[in-house]
């Protein structure tokens, strides 16, 4: 599905609404250029999941794991600096029990993953406007209707 987001607040709100559809084992891939709003959306997801700890860019640390008030862990990954499969292994993410959000997924995705949601964010035109394309891959997302609104 496609939609247009007009402000950073709306981006965060989108993330909150998205989080309602997420379960442990889910993988969300955020693709977009610098400044597209990936961390902003993740912040919204974090709010929706009641994550503990501020959602901050994981570029430096590679991954930040947040406990949530009553639910699965939220793992926030920035794969931009991952240069090898070894480093991915090193992160040792507890996929089964976590909701994993990955920025710059190009270095992250391989055939071992069966299900994921890919959100492509384009910040082409005016200042704050973003165009989103949301696609679910794999049997997990076949029947899911995203309650995402606009």
């Amino acid at each position: 599905m496609k939609l247009t987001i007009k402000t950073p607040e709306a981006m965060e709100a989108f993330g909150r609404r998205l989080s309602r559809s997420l379960e442990p084992g889910d993988l969300v891939l955020l693709s977009g250029e610098l400044g597209a709003g990936k961390t902003t959306m993740t912040r919204g997801i974090g709010v929706g999941l009641e994550a503990i700890g501020t959602i901050q860019s994981p570029t430096f640390v590679l991954a930040r794991t947040h406990r949530t008030k009553n639910g699965p862990k939220l793992v926030h990954v920035d794969a931009y600096r991952l240069t090898s499969a070894i480093e991915l292994d090193d992160l040792d993410i507890d996929f089964a029990n976590s909701i994993v959000v990955v920025e710059w997924p190009r270095n992250f995705l391989d055939d071992s993953f069966e299900n994921w949601v890919l959100i492509e964010i384009d910040r082409s035109s005016q200042e704050d406007v973003r165009e989103l394309v949301v696609t679910g891959h794999g049997p997990r997302w076949q029947e899911v209707q995203f309650d995402l609104g606009n």
Binding site: E33, L82, A85, I86, D89, R106, N107, D110, S124
Partner: protein, 194 residues
């Protein structure tokens, strides 16, 4: 007196006196290695009724295994050995497990995540396939081998160590064993498009 540590699966520690195992403490949790490592080692000491000063050697499992957890055991083992001024040895988990099956053609198989497996093949105790990564398909090439689960712990590590020392094998490498080759290429500096 040997302290064996392994965090390739759960978190475990064992104390051996010569060839005799005096204690074994194991935590099954696959994710609590940092939490459990101190308790495992401390438990192994007290169950064996020994003080750390009596140790002469530390053995650590080098994997292959999920690395975040594996490194906890290796770090603990190296630190313990350094603090006591005694040597540390590294044991490859697949080899250690194989030791328990010294007869026949066996393939030790462990989960490598990402839909792959760590394998090592042995014929009557001799290694014929070195530790490597394989897909499920590739496993079919080894149908002549009897598959053995590669789950390891400190007890298995310790027993292997005792045997290996008697064979004068070189176990001085305590680094975590990485079998995957770096296969993801780093991206070139991308132009931020408008």
């Amino acid at each position: 007196m040997i302290l064996a540590i392994d965090t390739s699966a759960g978190t475990s520690a064992a104390v051996f006196d010569g060839t005799k195992q005096l204690s074994f403490v194991n935590f099954d949790d696959r994710f609590g290695h940092a939490e459990n490592i101190g308790l495992a080692i401390q438990g192994a000491f007290s169950k064996a009724g020994i003080t750390p000063a009596e140790l002469t050697l530390v053995a650590v499992g080098r994997g292959p295994a999920p690395y975040t957890g594996l490194r906890v055991g290796v770090a603990a083992g190296i630190a313990m050995a350094t603090a006591l001024g005694i040597p540390a040895c590294g044991v490859i988990t697949l080899n250690a497990v194989a030791r328990k099956h010294p007869v026949g053609r066996i393939l030790v198989v462990a989960d490598a995540k990402r839909k792959e497996l760590f394998i090592a093949g042995f014929q009557d105790g001799e290694q014929v396939i070195p530790p490597s990564v394989a897909t499920h398909q590739e496993l079919e090439d080894y149908s002549s081998f009897r598959q053995v689960p590669g789950e390891c712990d400190a007890s298995v590590i310790g027993e292997y160590l005792i045997w290996a020392k008697a064979q004068n094998l070189d176990l001085t490498d305590t680094s975590a064993l990485y079998l995957r080759s770096p296969d993801v290429t780093p991206s070139a500096g991308k132009r931020v498009t408008g």
